[in-house]
């Protein structure tokens, strides 16, 4: 129960922010941090709780963004109707990739590689067909009103992303307190033992990748509604895939709050870097890359790991032990 209270307290605190903060810059910072937390939480469900590290998570993000874009621009759908369909598309892609990969027993590094390959395939497809705007991409017409799922004020977007993050937090909390979550973590920690105890590892992993895909697609939905534009490189390129795994690894994989903490830390780091080095392209990411290396080297359990007891320190799922056998 404590966990649930924590989630709602967090939601309330952030929801109150627009009343105390009016700067567009600051609100955008909060929004983008929450956005990173959402992507991170989506990845965390499959990677942290499920132990399947994906290096191509953009494949779900891009699908959500493009579904949203295509339904509105090419078919004239209302955004509110399109959003759940886009999330469902993410889950469907998850079912496909998971169904195929897990059916053939792909784990560890091989699974990471195959997700990368799928992301690249989708990128090429999106880049080729007029349906998705080919190389030019898709742009959503600016039409700010809540009915169109676009908001005139930053506060509107803040509440949108906050809602999505709360959903993700609740989903992760549920993983920690449910039978399904126990099964998933058992499969992560030792798939053979889990099978010997009656767990259907294939179905469990499949469900995880579908949930993860749906949440990641929701991130794509948010992206295109907030920034109004998507193209193959943004949608399916390595940027989003890396962004999705950075926050959980920094904050602590397999935990409820890891992605949120990681997102905040990375954002602060980014701002700090910008302050020191200006807006030069690439500087932020150099720092993030270094952080990634240092985290795996010294803090594989992430920031949350620093605060765990000595006994727990040796056992929690770490960036080192999480990925399963190749």
């Amino acid at each position: 129960m404590r966990g649930l209270i924590g989630i709602f307290a967090f939601a309330a605190a952030v929801a109150a922010a627009p009343f105390f903060v009016s700067s567009g810059y600051a609100l955008n910072a909060i929004i983008m941090t929450l956005y990173a937390a959402l992507l991170g939480q989506a990845w965390n469900i499959l990677g942290g709780f499920g132990g399947q590290f994906s290096f191509g998570h953009a494949v779900f993000f891009g699908t959500g963004a493009y579904a949203m874009g295509v339904l509105q621009v090419k078919f004239g759908w209302n955004a509110w109707a399109a959003a759940p369909v886009a999330a469902a598309c993410g889950a469907a892609v998850g079912a496909f990739i998971g169904g195929v990969s897990f059916r053939y027993g792909l784990r560890g590094s091989y699974f990471a590689l195959v997700t990368l390959a799928f992301a690249e395939v989708f990128r090429i497809l999106a880049n080729t067909f007029e349906f998705t705007g080919a190389g030019v991409g898709l742009m959503i017409k600016l039409n700010e009103s809540a009915a169109n799922f676009q908001f005139a004020t930053k506060a509107g977007y803040l509440y949108l992303i906050l809602t999505l993050v709360v959903v993700a937090q609740l989903a992760t909390w549920w993983l920690k307190h449910s039978r399904y979550g126990a099964w998933l973590q058992a499969v992560r920690d030792n798939e053979e033992s889990a099978a010997a105890l009656g767990v259907n590892a294939f179905r469990v992993k499949l469900a995880a990748i579908m949930i993860s895909g749906a949440l990641m697609a929701a991130g794509g939905v948010f992206y295109i509604q907030y920034l109004h534009y998507i193209d193959p490189h943004i949608a399916y390129g390595p940027g989003v895939s890396v962004e999705a795994l950075l926050a959980p690894i920094v904050g602590g994989i397999g935990t409820v709050w890891g992605p949120v903490i990681g997102a905040v830390v990375l954002h602060v780091l980014g701002e700090g870097t910008r302050g020191l080095m200006g807006d030069a392209p690439g500087v932020n990411l150099v720092v993030y890359g270094l952080v990634l290396i240092l985290m795996v080297m010294f803090l594989p359990r992430g920031i949350i790991g620093v605060f765990q007891t000595r006994a727990a320190r040796n056992a929690t799922p770490t960036a080192r032990t999480g990925a399963g056998r190749a």
């Binding site: 449910s178 126990a182 058992a186 053979e192 033992s193 099978a195 010997a196 105890l197 767990v199 056992a315």
Partner: protein
Amino acid sequence: MLEARGLSISFGGLCAVEDVGLQVPAGRIVALIGPNGAGKTTCFNLISGFLKPDRGSVAFDDRDITGLAPHRICALGMTRTFQIVQPFAAQTVRENVAVGAHLRVRSRRAALARADEVASRVGLGDELDKLALNLTISGRKRLELARALATGPKLLLLDEVLAGLNPQEITEVIPVIHAIRDTGVTILMIEHVMQAVMHLADDVYVLSNGRLIAQGTPAEVTNDPVVIEAYLGTGTAERLRRMAHA
């Protein structure tokens, strides 16, 4: 309860198990013994669904389960343990056992409660909050047992559950296994520790080089010259007999 017939499997030309059949009547404890490399764990893998036999069949509760997936077989009431214990290292004893409990129970709270109860039965009551990683070998073996018990099996396959335990620990575990049988669970166990086999088993099957070479009560089997030869080498049975009569 369990009937295996003509089980055979080869790995790349090497015959690991050849024409093995055994029966485990309900409510009994049956032991599967034999020298190292005889194929005992392979038999377990064949029976519990981790390997598909090239030939032969397995029937559980009069139902053909040959080739079924391990988790399906477990759901039907047969649970196996592993010789090399594989706990969920990152989780506590309670959480480990709860995974087993969840086979029958949906509620998290109920599963954790059941885990407490089962763990206490095997003597892990004081270590429920310990991380599996931090248990001694004896603790890990008990954990393996508790996890399997929590699934509420009708038939328990124990793979060398006593291996690595010192004599004191062995005398502590034997009554636990007896108690499990007394609650109505049938047990098929692979064991090297002969003391345990003598004390526990109603029936013994002896495997050597992938084939069954003897079957009977513990007393019959340990006096069988074929069995002695399998463990100690050709001619030993004769030498022992001569020494006994000398």
